[in-house]
Structure formats: structure tokens, C-alpha cells
């Protein structure tokens, strides 16, 4: 009986914590093949069940994003992915027809960001990327870049006032992420698909230093790069809450959702 009560209160406190710590998932895709397997109603249900209060969603093609905007308008913050289908991540910068695709969508829908796009080194100097950066400027949009540090430098060179979300924190060491965050005040970093800060629910020391130096710049994201990974959103939210609970409450809340809200200039949720 005692054990039952203990179990019960454990369950209660776990769900109470889920209530306490909303998640802003800042890196999520709903591409054409995911639309096939998981209808938007199901996606909305997954997000709600996982305590994901907001999500920066992009998809290739854009239809998935628009479907989700309709089905979960209170959750979805739409981003414009410059890909018509999955498979263009390595070629899009050399394809001028992408510009028409992006410009057309910008006319028809409202977005908060362009991305997540893939661009490394000199890719940024291509006319396609330069035009994308120009469009971000004209429409006051965040750029969600899966890039190396060099490409991030080039984006800021082209447009010093840019707001950039560095996907996967560039997959570089935390020390290097900090260097970049020191260099650019409008640079944020998502932790999608990185496990190196999380040691079984404890924050790894080098990362703790990064989070303490820049409590306003990091955020979490699931990165549903294959459609199956939508079924990972809930696990991801749960394990994120676990390591976040190893940080001071205010920093945890910032990384969990406040930083993404600030970055995207949304109404603070609470």
C-alpha cells in the first residue's frame, strides 16, 4: 500500500512538473512523407500530450506547415523552409527557382522565420542565399541556419542586424558556441539532436558554463528529420525536462520556452 502511494505521488509529481515546464520546440519539421503517415490532428495531439506549448515548424514542401497552422494555430509558429521536397538540402543553393518558390509563399502566408536551411562556408555567397538573406531583411524574419561557424559569420557580414537561430548549435563544442554567442548578440542556438549536454539527466559542466554565461540564448528542439521521429517528441520533452531540472529554475524556463519566445518576438506566455 505504501509503495502504491509512493508510486502514485511520483506519477503525480511527474505530471505536475510537466504542467509546470512548458516546452517551446524550436526545431521541428512536418514534411510530405510525415503528412502521409501522421495526419495533422494526430500531430496536434502529440504536441499537446507532450506539453509542447509552442513549436517552430517548417516543412518541405510547405503544405505540412500550413496544415498544422490550421489544426494547431495556438501551438504552431510557422517557418518557411526553402525546399520543395526532402532531398534538396545539398542542392538548393544552386537552384534559382527556389527564389520564386520562397517569394511566392511569402506573398501568400505569414511566417516568423526562414529555415531550417542547410548552408556551409561559401554557400552563403551564392545569389540564392544572398537573396534569402535579403528577403529575411525585407520581411523581418529570423534565419534558422544549419551551418558551420564560417557560414554564420558570412550571414552576419551580409546582414549585420540579422536574427539567426544556429541549428544544433553548429554541432561544435560548447566553448566554440560561446565564442560565437559573444561575437553576435542576435545569435541564438538550438540543442536539437545533441546529447552531449545531458549526462543521464545531469547537465555536463562545460555546457552548464555555457548556459550560465548565456542563459538567454539556448533553446530545445526535437528535429523530426524522419517522419517516425514525431513519435519521439514526447520522449524528447520528457528527457529535456529531466536535464533542465538540473539547472536553476529561471535558466531552465528560459531554455525550455522563454528564449524562443523572445527570439521570435512573441507574447510571453506566462
Amino acid at each position: 500500500m505504501l509503495r502504491l502511494i509512493a508510486l502514485f505521488s511520483l506519477l503525480l509529481s511527474a505530471s505536475a512538473y510537466a504542467e509546470e515546464l512548458p516546452i517551446f520546440d524550436s526545431h521541428i519539421h512536418y514534411s510530405h512523407d510525415a503528412v502521409e503517415f501522421l495526419p495533422p490532428e494526430k500531430i496536434a495531439e502529440i504536441l499537446k500530450k507532450s506539453g509542447v506549448k509552442k513549436a517552430l515548424v517548417s516543412s518541405s514542401d510547405d503544405r505540412g506547415t500550413q496544415l498544422l497552422v490550421k489544426h494547431a494555430p495556438d501551438i504552431v509558429v510557422p517557418a518557411l523552409r526553402p525546399y520543395r521536397k526532402r532531398g534538396e538540402t545539398g542542392s538548393w543553393m544552386h537552384d534559382p527557382t527556389i527564389i520564386e518558390y520562397v517569394e511566392d509563399l511569402l506573398k501568400r502566408h505569414k511566417y516568423h522565420a526562414i529555415g531550417e536551411f542547410h548552408a556551409f562556408d561559401e554557400d552563403i555567397e551564392t545569389p540564392v542565399l544572398q537573396r534569402i538573406i535579403q528577403l529575411a531583411k525585407e520581411h523581418d524574419l529570423l534565419l534558422h541556419a544549419h551551418s558551420d561557424a564560417d557560414a554564420v559569420d558570412r550571414i552576419f557580414k551580409a546582414y549585420p542586424e540579422a536574427r539567426v537561430l544556429w541549428a544544433h548549435s553548429g554541432f561544435v563544442r560548447p566553448e566554440r558556441v560561446r565564442e560565437m554567442l559573444r561575437k553576435y548578440k542576435n545569435l541564438w542556438a538550438d540543442l536539437a539532436f545533441r546529447s552531449d549536454h545531458d549526462d543521464n539527466g545531469k547537465v555536463v559542466p562545460q555546457w552548464r558554463e555555457a548556459f550560465e554565461e548565456f542563459p538567454d540564448r539556448f533553446m530545445v528542439g526535437t528535429d523530426t528529420f524522419a517522419p517516425e521521429r514525431w513519435l519521439y517528441v514526447e520522449d524528447h520533452a520528457r528527457t529535456s525536462r529531466a536535464w533542465l531540472s538540473d539547472l536553476p529554475k529561471d535558466i531552465a524556463e528560459k531554455i525550455a520556452f522563454r528564449n524562443a519566445e523572445t527570439m521570435l518576438r512573441l507574447q510571453p506566455s506566462q
Partner: protein, 381 residues
């Protein structure tokens, strides 16, 4: 002119027929040969499992064999391990997914060379063979028995009970079902450790190359040689399918979809780590007979990473000709299907930063056949 044209055509035809084997370029480069040599000799040296005190014990092997083939252990008395792991079918069942009390989610793994594994199951939910051998007995979707039922059956069968007492020094303990079950698992493990695949044409070729015996090496078919050049070269297959057993023993995403139906997925290694961490029957636990707890670092050190979601164990490639269909869900019927899968792999499904291990090879039809011929040469026939 006409004669010369015909002659030229003949030369080209001969070249096509014999491949590049006769031309100036050798089929395999030195670096490919260096890699190839690492995949032998076969069979590999094996030491008994220190976590299993009856590993290698002939009486335990005999008891394990009887248990393995006994349908009485199952809940309905009709299913044995061999129902799914059939010796005449490469120790599997030739079905896409196993069939227990219901259709399972995964393909039945072959038991060839199972003693060489580091992890067990497509998701590595166990770190030792005896624990993995208990699992199907108790799974309601597989043999659907209880520990009590299994122990009762063994106790009630004079031959099994006597063999048990011979091996373990005491009659099956009905008061300690878990211990008795673990012992039965250890006997079955001892039996499965004897399931070893023989020498294949590849092994003969590999040893000939190692000895510099050109004549012996020339017996290996030209198509398989060209396939080897793909396997050890451009295909990068050895990145994961390493060593004499053609596996690194770990988990990877080979681009195989893992939906189980609308809204359901097989989480693969991610869920396997959860089960492993929750298990008492690991190399770090009390049931390991090894006082040094050799190998316990694996379960102690492992933790679930984002990448583990949807990863599956890199399977051995030995005796594939006996174990179709392929992949964790049996979704690919033939070796040609597997090769075409790699040839046109959807890299967007694979998360990689920087260089990709797997990239579409865009093989032509002949190259597909060559790679298949190579894979077939890893079988004993």
C-alpha cells in the same frame, strides 16, 4: 575494316565476360585488400562465456538442446524456440516478422554465430545470451509461458529434471523461480554457442590472399571479386559490417523505415537501452557468474542518445543465403532488394553532419549483381 570491327567487338565482349580481372587494372586495390584481410580468419577463436558457469559444458549443451526443441515449455505446449529458429531454415523462420501467439513486430534473427554478439536482439535489450534466451519464454506474444509453468514442466519431466540436476548440482528450485529460469537460460545459451557457420568461399579467398596464393585466390568468382571491390571500397560497407563476423556489434540507422502502422513506431535501440537499464539479468547483475564482472562496463556506461531512436543492430552478413527476408522488420525480400536499398538510400532520413557514411551509390545493374555475388560468397552454401 569489317574484320577489325569484329575483332574489337570480340575483345570488348571478352573483357565484359571476364570483367576487369584480365585487364591491367587489378580488381581489388591494395587498400581494399588490406581491409578485406581484417574479415578473417574464420572461424574466430572463442572463449567460453565467463558470465555463464555452464558455458562449454557438454551436459549443459545437451540439456540446452532439449530445452530449445521442446514445445512443452510454451504456454500452449505447441511452440519451441525452434518453431521460429528452425535449424533447417538458417535458425530463423523465413517470415518477414516472427509469428508467436500473434504476428511480432520484428524479423526473427538467425542464431548463427550468436556467441560472438556483444548485444542481443535487434535493439540490444540484453547484454548476454542467457538473459536473451529467457525473454521469449515469458513474452505473451511469443511462447507465452510463466516462470512457474516452465519450472513445473522441467520438474515434471524425469529426463529434463535429471539433466538439470546433473548440470547445476541440485534439482530445479521451485521456490526460487527466477534462479531456476536463469539456469535454464544458461543451458540454452550453452547450446546456442555451438551454432557456428562454416567456412565460406570468401574465407578461402581471404586466406589465399593472406598467403599470397594467387592460384587459390583465382578460384573465387570474378563477380564476387568485383562485388568485394564495392564492399570494401566505394560502398563503405565495412564502416559498420566490420571484422570476421561482418558486424561492429553496435547500432546504426541504415535508412530502413520503422513505422509499425499508423501512429506506431519501433523505437529500436532507444527502447532497448530502457529495457537493458531496467533489467536485473545483465553482466553487472548478481546472476552473472563472473566474479570479475567482465563486460559489465557496457551496461553501466550506456545511455540513451537522440540518435538511438530508430537505430537497430548491425547484423552479421554470414550465411545470408539461408536467412531471407532481411532487415529488422523483414521488409526486404532478397539480397538484391537490400543492395538496391543501399544503392538509392534516402540520406534525408539519416542525420549526419559533415561526411556521410551512407550515401546513394547509384549502382548499375551489373554492379548490383556483383555486390549480391559478394554477399552470397559469405555463405556456406
Amino acid at each position: 575494316m569489317r574484320v577489325a570491327g569484329r575483332l574489337l567487338a570480340l575483345v570488348v565482349l571478352t573483357l565484359l565476360a571476364t570483367g576487369t580481372a584480365n585487364s591491367a587494372e587489378p580488381v581489388l586495390s591494395q587498400s581494399q585488400i588490406d581491409k578485406l584481410l581484417l574479415h578473417g580468419p574464420w572461424p574466430v577463436q572463442w572463449d567460453r562465456d565467463p558470465s555463464n558457469r555452464v558455458s562449454g559444458n557438454p551436459n549443459a549443451i545437451a540439456l540446452g538442446r532439449d530445452l530449445f526443441f521442446s514445445p512443452k515449455l510454451s504456454g500452449n505446449g505447441k511452440m519451441s524456440c525452434a518453431t521460429c529458429h528452425h535449424p533447417g531454415r538458417g535458425w530463423t523462420d523465413r517470415l518477414p516478422q516472427g509469428l508467436g501467439t500473434t504476428k511480432l513486430d520484428r524479423n526473427t534473427q538467425s542464431l548463427f554465430n550468436v556467441r560472438l554478439n556483444r548485444w542481443f536482439g535487434w535493439d540490444g535489450q540484453n547484454d548476454n545470451l542467457w538473459a536473451q534466451s529467457i525473454r521469449p519464454l515469458l513474452d505473451p506474444k511469443e511462447m507465452n509461458a510463466s516462470a512457474g509453468h516452465v519450472v513445473k514442466v522441467v520438474n515434471g519431466d524425469p529426463e529434463l529434471a535429471e539433466a538439470y540436476e546433473n548440470v547445476f548440482g541440485a534439482a530445479p528450485d521451485t521456490a526460487n523461480l527466477e534462479l531456476t529460469l536463469v539456469n535454464l537460460g544458461k543451458a540454452m545459451a550453452a547450446f546456442q554457442e555451438t551454432i557456428v557457420s562454416g567456412r565460406s568461399p570468401f574465407d578461402a579467398f581471404r586466406d589465399a590472399l593472406a598467403k599470397g596464393d594467387e592460384k587459390a585466390a583465382s578460384a573465387y568468382p570474378a563477380a564476387a571479386k568485383r562485388g568485394a571491390a564495392l564492399f570494401f571500397g566505394r560502398g563503405n560497407c565495412t564502416f559498420c559490417h566490420t571484422g570476421p563476423n561482418f558486424t561492429n556489434g553496435e547500432f546504426q540507422d541504415a535508412g530502413v523505415p520503422y513505422f509499425l502502422g499508423p501512429g506506431r513506431v519501433d523505437k529500436g535501440r532507444y527502447a532497448g537501452i530502457g529495457k537493458l537499464k531496467a533489467s536485473k539479468l545483465t553482466l553487472a547483475g548478481d546472476y552473472s557468474d563472473d566474479p570479475a564482472k567482465t563486460g559489465a562496463w557496457k551496461v553501466r556506461g550506456v545511455r540513451a542518445l537522440h540518435r538511438n531512436f530508430g537505430e537497430f543492430k548491425v547484423p552479421s552478413l554470414r550465411n545470408l543465403t539461408q536467412t531471407a527476408p532481411y532487415m529488422h522488420n523483414g521488409s526486404l525480400a532478397t539480397l538484391e532488394d537490400v543492395v538496391r536499398h543501399y544503392s538509392e538510400i534516402d540520406v534525408e532520413r539519416l542525420h549526419a553532419d559533415g561526411t556521410r557514411v551512407l550515401a546513394p551509390l547509384h549502382l548499375n545493374d551489373r554492379e548490383v549483381k556483383d555486390l549480391v555475388a559478394f554477399l552470397e560468397s559469405l555463405s556456406t552454401g
